[in-house]
């Protein structure tokens, strides 16, 4: 099978020693096993995330996203842009849609890009890593490298908002997307299909600015995972991951709960099932260690 190649947009949280650096580590390990080649878009910049709107406005946000497109078009022509972060993917796709549909904004964006010596032609295609896995690799392809099935491990698939709405993954419903469960099963684990907070909002960026209000959301998300019988949460989104993992101790203090549930990325599960080490799977980056998974690595 020929190597599949993509223009990679890792995003700020995936950088070395940033909050989702363990996501990137596991994505790299996973892609190696799947014969997928990711080439970083040279000199990419931040997508603006959702909360950038207050000061950023519309055109500056479009321009920063279009800068990444222009760089990809120039340096990695013909390759789809792949993002691992939900907000990066969403910000990029929204920008692309807006520019495709409104020629005036396309004109103004290119005026701004010209100040950086760049130009965006309108040719890029933007995808999430999960789309690449499901659509280009397929569940059979995901299964092939499995050497250590995740037998006996119970996962609640927490998808959250921005990988799900408004674009979502083709063929999945907004209310009950099933791909994450299917991925877990493909890797030999058990997906808790009764988990009912799959698409609940974790508060997003408001976990910083409105901590009390957001932690109430997070409490529901974790509580329901325990109720479903899950040992761990698995998610495709770095902000969901950080919010649901980091604030468990705060919630315990406030509500007297005893939450201590590991929160993993799908790519970490895949790396472990593919025989990767604790380090390769980024499991050493968990605040709440996933001992059950580490045990499989040690086998």
């Amino acid at each position: 099978m020929a190597k599949k190649e993509y223009a990679f947009y890792p995003g700020c949280s995936s950088q070395l020693k940033a909050s989702a650096s363990n996501y990137l580590t596991s994505v790299n390990s996973m892609c190696e096993k799947l014969d997928v080649k990711l080439t970083e878009i040279p000199d990419w910049n931040c997508c603006g995330a959702s909360v950038g709107y207050a000061e950023g406005g519309e055109l500056p946000r479009l321009a920063i996203n279009a800068r990444n497109f222009a760089l990809a078009e120039t340096h990695l022509p013909g390759q789809d842009i792949v993002a691992t972060c939900a907000a990066c993917w969403l910000g990029s796709r929204e920008t692309k849609e807006r520019l495709d549909h409104t020629s005036q904004l396309m004109k103004e964006t290119n005026e701004a890009l010209a100040a950086a010596g760049l130009n965006y032609k309108g040719d890029v295609n933007i995808r999430h890593m999960v789309e690449v896995l499901i659509e280009d690799i397929g569940y059979d392809g995901i299964k092939k490298p499995v050497v250590k099935p995740l037998e006996g491990l119970k996962f609640a698939g927490y998808i959250g908002c921005q990988t799900n709405r408004p674009f979502g993954i083709a063929g999945e419903s907004f209310e009950n997307p099933k791909y994450l469960d299917q991925m877990v099963e493909t890797l030999g684990g058990e997906a808790m299909t009764s988990y009912d907070q799959k698409v609940t909002c974790c508060g997003g960026a408001l976990a910083f600015s409105e901590p009390e209000k957001s932690q109430k959301q997070i409490k529901d998300i974790i509580e329901s995972a325990y109720d479903s019988g899950a040992q761990m949460l698995v998610t495709p989104c770095p902000l969901c991951q950080a919010n649901t993992e980091v604030y468990q101790s705060e919630i315990n203090k406030k509500y007297g709960t005893k939450f201590n549930m590991p929160v993993l990325y799908y790519s970490q599960l895949m790396t472990v099932a593919y025989g990767g080490s604790i380090k390769e799977a980024g499991l050493d980056g968990q605040l709440i260690r996933a001992e059950a998974l580490e045990k499989i690595c040690g086998k």
């Binding site: 931040c46 321009a63 600015s209 209000k213």
Partner: protein, 207 residues
Amino acid sequence: MTTANQNAVERYRNNFLKEVEANVEEGDMVKMCMQCGVCAGSCPLGPHWEHSPQKIFMMIRAGKREEVLSSDSMWMCTSCYNCIVRCPRQLPITHIMHGLANYAHRLGLAPKGQPTREFGTLFWNNLVKKGRVNELTLTIGHYFKDGIAAGIKTGLAMQAVGLGMVKAKRLNPMEIFGGHAVKDLKGFHAMVAKAQEIEAKKKGFTA
């Protein structure tokens, strides 16, 4: 009153809907709302919205300019996109909420000290500086926004979390001295400045 706000008041007189259509991101879609109320029950922080999106759209049509632009409600939007996928008229509600918040912020009418307004501003300024977000200065800036005493208090409360992140190699204390950045910072800054200039001219933010 800021000059931009004064200009807008004079220019649009009693037609707030027209003002929103011209100056707010995706504002031209507001008139498509049929007041079905579906979006009103969609927001995760719903109980904290004094005016639901449905109500805000009604108020825009009723010309309640001050009330809308000084509202705290849009700032409660978590960008969950529940509303967008449910609205029968396909209003880009999330973007209109962001657009209204940004417009109110630019005109100086948004509530002072609104935490998401402050955090959002901090976030944008942080990313513009280097082209990439520096999570450490962002966090520190956020906890110290109310002054040193309050910052130390919140900072202490979050210290265990912060140290845990450092230990897990997911927060780099060295980032306070710089951290990640784009290489072509000059080009990046020139581009952002140009985009801001075009937008300000279009939306009347420059006097």
